[in-house]
Amino acid sequence: MTRREKRKEVRLTFEKQHGIPRVSATAVDRSEQAKEKERKQIEQYKALERNVSDRVKSKDYSGSTLQATSNLLTQNPEYYTIWNYRRLILQDAVHREVASGHDATGKEQIDEKDIAAAEKAGLTLPQQEISLLVNEDLQFLIPLLKQFPKCYWIWNHRSWLLATATKHLPAKSTVKLWQAELGLVSKMLALDSRNFHGWGYRREVVQELERLSGSSMAEKEFEYTTKMINSNLSNFSAWHYRSQLIPRLLEEREVGSEDRKKMLDTEFELITRALYTDPYDQSLWFYHQYLLSTLDPGNSQSTSLLHPVTNADRAQYLQQELDSIREMLDGAEDCKYIYQALLECSLRYLEVGSGNRSPLENEMKDWLVELKKIDPLRAGRWRDLEAKMKL
């Protein structure tokens, strides 16, 4: 099945997906037979490991050593030293290719086919070889990545391969590679939308693509976060990414203050709708908190979305949110996040608002009492909050 064809079949077996283990047909076998089998497997593994180490130490960076590392890594991709060895081998191959490009004599017999392929791709022969090397390794990684989607070293090696390609190949080739990476990471995120390795890698890929093409992908990525959120509201990574994109979006769109207000309004509406649907979801409150933080005059980390913005504007939004969250309590009086948000919002309001503080401060005292009741395990934390509130 090509990648373009839409997937129609459902698989009934799976490894480590959503934390559900494989359906295992046989119980753990502790017989002598099984132990003997296991002993042999351990010996084989150790022999392979020794083999690889010895070869690398003696600087045998041949194709058969590469194959040996492939065998070892397929069995144990967490063994990061072997990834380092693999990169030594690949690096050596790359350097030899680059060197051969400058040296006209002493070249091996060059295959006509290779020259033709290189010309067709618009690459020099060394570049073509490097491209093949990189692509082969990328292919090698794919089944490993699917089986171990949260292994740092696999993602890391992939990054390295892409960086190597970017260094040695012309932009039009590397753009294709990075675009393929975007496709891959979208697939990985479709399989597990909360894999933060995937999200981090995606940002890396997008950054490179933007650099190579000279144009911003903020709009598309913003749409992507919308899709992912619609798929799963609890996607903290998607909400976080969204919060990174909004300030850039507003810059790029070059909008005036009215449109900036509209954007902030739309985001508040979105998160309010989500919060009404499920106020017990912490990742939603984090995003709400982000939106509030953009209204914070003293906050250097969170850029203001509104521009220009006065304390009166800020107070208006905070008042609006206070009212909205107060209503949310109705039917969810046992939700501690709502009380936390009310207190947070009130503190912000008191900083920028004007007028009589006492009514709000009295409400805050009540909310704090509720919070202590609902979540007695965190009594210390509520005491700290109380002290901070200086009521």
């Binding site: 839409k6 459902v10 698989r11 009934l12 359906v23 699917k146 509201l233 649907t277 499920d278």
Partner: protein
């Protein structure tokens, strides 16, 4: 083939319907000598899949037979358009594989793990059943053309509720809260609350206990639970576990769907693969033969006379009520159920709006469920399961609709429901019915647990017929397991747990 006459067997299974075929699969590694018969010329029995011409023959065989013997199907008829088949847009007969058993299989059903552990799942393809819909304001007999019925997607989880424009913020909150209750209703924490509401009628409890007052909020829940009777008579004890099953099944094999369907003709595929596995294990298969009568021999075995008048002796005789000799079907009664109307319709459009991908990058579903309210609120709804051409059941550009209802005189209702569906999708030109058949199927409406007394008479075991519930229920496999245990005496952990045969891959990890 050599004559069967005077042969001796350990187990004789009559009928290759799904329950019997699964038993054959369960016994496929036992080394027992198994004779597996079916009176038809095809596999699958009541769960078979039929090519178009075969379906037409089938309707003739099962025509007006109300009360003839104990056949499951009766009053079958074609409701064709007039004219040559080539003019109607139908493809060749073999391009169709119409399922007599299009039941949904929830991802958490007990059938799927068994297909994995028995190593048969890789011989089948499964596809996702993605979206659930309800149609309210359906066409009634009087109003056929004047009203356009409205179809709404059923929110089946939090994200759907979030996106649903017809629900106001309060309704969103209440619905999510209800679903959260449902997902944990059987835990200790909620025991007291569950005890207090379980016997209440659904409409009342949803209103009083969960603040769900509007039709917009209640109708989708009824649709999700595939409630067969009218909403006035359904109680929470029926509704809640079914919704819980739906929710707990969502996302198990991929985001956005909770049930699967076997490709190429519904449960028929499963029966076929199961029989094949038994044949590989040495089972002998004979089509066109029935267990016409049976008697006990002196040494306690059963002598079975086949329809071709050959006689075999067997230690065990197993079948469903339709496939066992008359003498053993004296226990028929409430377990056999009533005759329910069902129809199969081929439509001239792929009805793509029924099969949207349910999540970013997810699978494209090949199945959809539509609950059509009855115009009369006292009457039960019609349930339609739609299968896209990706299911292999019809050519591209068409789709198949399987309709059923729990109303005894409901044949006309099925047609109206299908018409409502075709109108509500809002396609232009309007999708047409290319071909349709309907029939009555007598079966229990929902799986009834048999006691061992009623299921066994000496060494004749009667397996329960599949219910006509839109969903495949777990009871069937439990029933098969009991029969397997009676025959082999082995303990439960070994049921359907097979090692790979020589030559099969040791490791069936994915990708």
């Amino acid at each position: 083939m050599d004559s069967l006459d005077q042969t001796e067997w350990d187990v004789t299974i009559s009928g290759t319907g799904l329950p019997q075929s699964l038993l054959a699969l369960a016994l496929s590694r036992s080394g027992l000598r198994i004779l597996h018969l079916d009176r038809n010329g095809y596999y699958g029995g009541n769960e078979a899949a039929l090519a178009l011409r075969d379906a037409e023959e089938w309707t003739q065989e099962h025509g007006d037979q109300a009360g003839q013997e104990r056949r499951a199907f009766s009053q079958a008829e074609l409701v064709n358009k007039d004219g040559e088949r080539s003019q109607t847009g139908l493809g060749p007969s073999r391009a169709y594989s119409l399922a007599l058993a299009p039941q949904l299989v929830y991802t958490r059903s007990n059938l799927l793990p068994v297909l994995v552990s028995s190593r048969t799942h890789e011989q089948m393809d499964f596809q996702a059943v993605g979206s659930w819909f309800t149609i309210s304001a359906p066409l009634s007999i009087q109003q056929e053309q004047s009203i356009i019925p409205t179809m709404m997607k059923v929110p089946s989880g939090r994200e759907d509720i979030f996106a649903d424009n017809t629900l106001d913020l309060r309704a969103k909150r209440s619905l999510t809260k209800f679903l959260r209750f449902v997902s944990a209703y059987d835990t200790d924490e909620l025991q007291a609350q569950w005890a207090s509401i379980r016997d209440k009628p659904v409409a009342q409890s949803l209103r009083e206990d969960f603040g769900l007052r509007t039709d917009a909020a209640v109708a989708p829940l009824l649709g999700l639970a595939l409630v067969p009777s009218s909403s006035d008579t359904t109680v929470m004890a029926y509704l809640v576990p079914r919704i819980a099953r739906h929710m707990r099944s969502t996302g198990l094999f991929g985001p956005g769907f909770s049930a699967v369907l076997p490709k190429w003709g519904g449960l028929a595929e499963v029966a076929q693969v199961a029989c094949r596995a038994c044949a590989v294990g040495g089972g002998v298969y004979v089509l066109g033969q029935d267990a016409a009568s049976a008697s006990t021999t002196e040494d306690g075995r059963t002598e079975v006379k086949l329809s071709g008048s050959e006689k075999v002796t067997t230690k065990w005789l197993v079948g469903c009520v339709d496939d066992l000799p008359h003498s053993f079907s004296q226990q028929t009664g409430k377990e056999d159920g009533k005759p329910w109307p069902r129809s199969i319709t081929i439509v001239s459009s792929p009805l793509t709006s029924l099969f949207p991908t349910t999540s970013e990058g997810g699978v494209t579903p090949a199945g959809a469920v539509i609950a059509v309210d009855s115009p009369d609120s006292d009457e039960p709804p019609v349930h339609i399961v739609a299968h896209a051409s990706d299911s292999g059941e019809c050519p591209q550009g068409q789709c198949v609709l399987y309709a059923s209802t729990a109303s005894e005189n409901g044949m006309e209702k099925l047609d109206l429901a299908v018409k409502s569906l075709l109108q509500s999708v809002g396609e232009d030109p309007k999708p047409q019915v290319l071909w349709s058949m309907r029939f009555l199927q007598r079966a229990p409406r929902s799986a009834v647990t048999q006691t061992s007394d009623s299921a066994r008479e000496g060494n004749v075991i009667r397996l329960q017929t599949l219910s006509t519930d839109v969903v495949l229920e777990d009871g069937m496999l439990e029933d098969v397991k009991k029969a397997w245990h009676a025959i082999t005496g082995e303990s439960e952990e070994h049921f359907m747990k097979f090692e790979p045969r020589n030559g099969e891959a040791e490791d069936d990890s994915v990708l």
